[in-house]
Symmetry: C2
Subunit: 188 residues, 2 copies
Amino acid sequence: MSDRKAEPPSRPAAALPADTKTLASLLFLREEEMRLAQDLLFFAYRDFTCAADRVLSELGLGRAHHRALHFIGRNPGISVSELLGILRITKQSLARVLSTLVGRGYVTQAAGRSDRRQRRLSLTAAGAGLERQLFERQRERLAGAYREAGGTAVEGFRRVMRGIMEHDARAYMDGAEREAHEPRARPA
Amino acid sequence: MSDRKAEPPSRPAAALPADTKTLASLLFLREEEMRLAQDLLFFAYRDFTCAADRVLSELGLGRAHHRALHFIGRNPGISVSELLGILRITKQSLARVLSTLVGRGYVTQAAGRSDRRQRRLSLTAAGAGLERQLFERQRERLAGAYREAGGTAVEGFRRVMRGIMEHDARAYMDGAEREAHEPRARPA
DNA sequence: CATATTAAGTCAACGACGCTGCCGTAATGG
DNA sequence: CCATTACGGCAGCGTCGTTGACTTAATATG
């Protein structure tokens, strides 16, 4: 932000009303604004994620399972390495989660048609049902926030969130938003 | 965004062009909008948190330490139980983190004046320096997002994030925002 | 004043979920 | 044919969350 520029020392103090923001307080407010943003992210994510926890713990699953279910559900036929790139965890961490989900019949694997080394992941009916159940918990919270905030705020929310994430994630979001409007199957 | 208003059920179908949104597709878009919000939260938080990871790992600290530093820095003199309420972790999880931070000289404890059972937590100069270093990493990312998105978007972002979190967290944010404008010491 | 109650520290044990490193197998592609 | 790639599995480890029980000191209350 512009707290990078040094103040010209010759600026006349008389030009400022007594209680107007000084440069120092402007800088303070800028920094404070960023710290408030940290708070916002912490609390919103804390309560967003815990919304689904009860359902998960009743099944003996964790948040890692939820994340996998979510992104497999949104990207049917996704390969393991693509999923690794989204979750940004290691193969072994994902393997533990995936083997549970496959073992309990929530996720199926199928060899890719063009490249038979790949295991294309999809949700089973049971997996889709569980994902929906988890989704509903978070949906309530998100829908309430969207409704209270209004359309303009939601658009701003999206813009800021996009800006926070890295470029590859923005590219992913572009693809997801595109698919929302032209719902056709992605090639396997 | 305009899928916010429910469609009047009596609206004649003939008024719609063939490819216009049906009720089913409106519902689909609503759900898709919520799923996109899930994606946004995941990616933004993923990249927000990892911004400070390099600094942390060089010091052999983790994200839990960062969170504690952050909230102690923002609430000098906070009690252990207040901090527990913010972080929503157990006393033992916090104890591990705190003992490291105290042991390395980042945090000090002082008995409360009105209630001497309490250990009021504050950052030392070293702790404030470390927190600042961690803050700078996240500040870059947040400030870039705020700058790109613009003031209106930031306001919307805040409104939605507030709506996602639970009531007690909103109350906390109210207090934090108030303190930003009337910077006076909180009573110990 | 005796007796809860509260704030905090502590120990033991465990679970979820990250990590690294290494090896194996199968399929792909130059 | 051989290097590379996609994936799975194993061993071991670290962080950070959990529960439960116990202690100490200070406060609040009957």
